[in-house]
Amino acid sequence: MRRVALMTLIAGTLSFMQGSEIESYLNELRAEAKAQNPSFKGFDAKRGEKIFFSKHIGKRGKEISCASCHTDDLSREGENIFTGKKIEPLSPVANPKRLSKVKKVKKWLRRNFKDVYKREGTAQEKGDVLLFIISSGK
């Protein structure tokens, strides 16, 4: 019995370490969101979907949304509307490399929020949109 419990603990720890990068980042964001808004209840992929698809006057005064470059279907290849550069699918289901490096995730959230919203995303917005991306293509 004790052995089984130990094995379960190890398995649990190991699997925790597997997806831990993005999960620990989401936890960081949760703490930040809670600190900024005490009534924060958790991230919401539906809110994230709105963040992703809503249009705003962004870079170069153009009316754009995240979907302008990443397209309406996150399992498809996208294209940078300013340069024509091809963008690999954003959905981690279609493209397993996505969301694997938190450094990269942070960088692109910073850059792309500024492109579309002309400001950095709040912790809640980042978490919402990440949850939306994670759940896309499922």
Partner: protein, 223 residues
């Protein structure tokens, strides 16, 4: 026996949990990283910007070592070639990773000093990437080494008092592309004159031969 097994597993668990808790490769150098790191590592080039960035200043002193290093940088070919994939990965994520040989040092330096407003986008990098890309660009700039072909033509056409940020702003480039209609450039398959690979099929390899050109909805170029 059982006791040691238990202690062993316990030790691994503790180690694993601590690594997970402590390990954080991310460093928040995101705010104005472009100008910030230019300031700390390459002081001689940025004296005039010192005042602006003093509040973000980390006192890393490489004063004399800097000059000595300068010489070694350009002879350390292999190390610099290792930086190329970083440049291609970071700078080639939104547009083609233009060959550094297209522009003089001063243009790349100016570009790297203003990454927070890179053609109206935030293109800032973290400290490590910034340093490597900076070195790679400066070492391979048109006036840092001997260049030939298109690179030489473009470099020779740039006036010494000018610091173009766009390759397409150089006199030679403009001359070579003067006969291409605005419509062919604006079409969705091309979008912009900065999109070399749309027509120059071997541009990623650094080749811009006329016989490799295929303009979408037009065909080959022949003059």
């Amino acid at each position: 026996m059982k006791k040691y097994l238990t202690y062993g597993i316990g030790a691994i668990l503790v180690a694993g949990l601590s690594i997970t808790a402590i390990a954080d490769e991310d460093r928040e150098y995101t705010k104005k990283s472009g100008a910030y790191f230019a300031e700390t590592e390459y002081k001689s080039s940025y004296k005039e910007h010192e005042n602006g960035y003093k509040e973000h200043h980390e006192k890393e002193r490489y004063e004399h070592e800097d000059e000595e290093r300068e010489e070694h940088r350009y002879t350390n070919k292999q190390r610099l070639m290792g930086y190329k994939p970083i440049y291609v990965q970071e700078c080639g994520s939104c547009h083609m990773a233009y060959q550094p040989e297209f522009l003089p040092k001063r243009s790349w330096i100016k570009m790297m000093k203003n990454l927070d407003d890179h053609f109206q986008t935030d293109a800032t990098l973290d400290k490590d990437e910034y340093k490597k890309i900076y070195e790679y660009l400066v070492a391979n700039a048109a006036d840092s080494k001997s260049v030939g072909g298109e690179y030489e033509e473009i470099a020779d056409s740039i006036k010494p008092n000018e610091t173009p940020l766009r390759i397409s702003d150089t006199p030679y480039f403009k001359k070579e592309h003067r006969k291409i209609s605005k419509e062919l450039i604006a079409q969705k398959e091309v979008k912009s004159i900065a999109n070399c690979t749309a027509c120059h099929k071997e541009a990623d390899r650094g080749s811009y031969d006329e016989n490799e050109i295929i303009i979408p909805n037009y065909g080959r170029w022949d003059d």
